[in-house]
């Protein structure tokens, strides 16, 4: 019994200070994906890489826009989007305090204008992606 007492006393207090103190996640933690819309061209590669469908998009051909959506409710924090994004626009941060009262607060939405073909007029890709391809003279290769 005294060995147990000695063990307990020597362990001391180990309780974390959270939430009074900060308890940041370590470097390299797979936390909330953050999107840099300066770099993002709306190319939707992330949506094709996402295994759970947390990233989705919809092309509205009447209004000529692509609506992109990331829902943290379905995110697995696997980092497939970060790995596949050709422009480094989506990165996993160290933020983890994501509890929310409703699902809408867990989403990030973006609207991109679609560019149309100069021959047939059909919308085919976002304007940002088209401009980038023209400027760099390359398709989206990694």
């Amino acid at each position: 019994m005294f060995r147990i007492l000695k063990k307990s006393l020597s362990t001391g207090v180990v309780t974390t200070g959270y939430p009074k103190g900060q308890d940041p996640a370590p470097e390299g933690f797979r936390g909330r994906p953050e999107v840099d819309f300066e770099k993002c061209t709306g190319c939707k590669v992330c949506s094709e890489a996402c295994p759970s469908g947390a990233i989705s998009y919809e092309d509205d051909l009447e209004e000529g826009v692509r609506r992109w959506r990331l829902s943290y409710a379905g995110c697995l924090f696997c980092g497939a989007c970060e790995e596949q994004c050709p422009y480094g626009a989506i990165t996993l941060s160290q933020f983890y305090e994501m509890a929310s009262r409703n699902k809408e607060d867990l989403s990030v939405t973006a609207t991109f204008r679609l560019g149309s073909c100069s021959h047939c007029g059909q919308y085919y890709e976002t304007e940002r992606e088209i401009q980038r391809a023209r400027k760099e003279g390359s398709h989206r290769c990694r």
Binding site: V14, G74, E97, M98, S100, V108, T111
Partner: protein, 231 residues
Amino acid sequence: MKPNGRFSAPEKKVPIVAARSGWQPLVPLHNPLSMVKAHKSCASTIDNGSQTMDREMIKLQRVEQNLEAIEKSLEELGARLSERIGKIFGRSLHIREVDSGSCNACEWEITALSNPVYDLERFGIYFVASPRHADVLLVTGPVTRNLQTALLKTYEATPEPKLVIAVGACACSGGLFHEGYASAGGVDKVLPVDIYIPGCPPRPQAILQGLLLAMDKMDQKMRKQEFAEES
């Protein structure tokens, strides 16, 4: 949101905590005031100016005024009760955990909350053995077909007021499994959810934040983000 399946909720009295939990009863309630108003409008169409009709109309008007006063005081009472419940929940929370098909990572993180490092009990939060003793149902997993009935029965056994917290990507939205032949696609397809805690699995600190949010002891840090290209 209503529970799906062949399970039906019992007849409810005036839903005092409806606003807090977003619960809508399956069976429409009889609202005495609206019945009286309907009766009045029906009576006024057949009003032929007789004394009997006039007395009837005066009686109906008095009943209507009384009911309006009762309804107003019930609303005030409801608001005060909600605040009181928030204060009670803010003192302690008794949790019944239900695994509806998770991969068990979320379970182990919830279990980790009882270890000496996170020590959940210092907040007055306890895990209870029976849903009859619970304030909160902590649900993990995408709600499998085989467990759906047990989950609904557990929900029904939990007395009001109660909250439902969905922990993990599978519970929040079905995760990888979505809606499939054996998966309902998330807890909100089956029960009304009050708090979502995303993660795969969420860190114990993240689950703790969610529980403290339920007790109104912490603030929500997530807000919807929108971006639109300028035309």
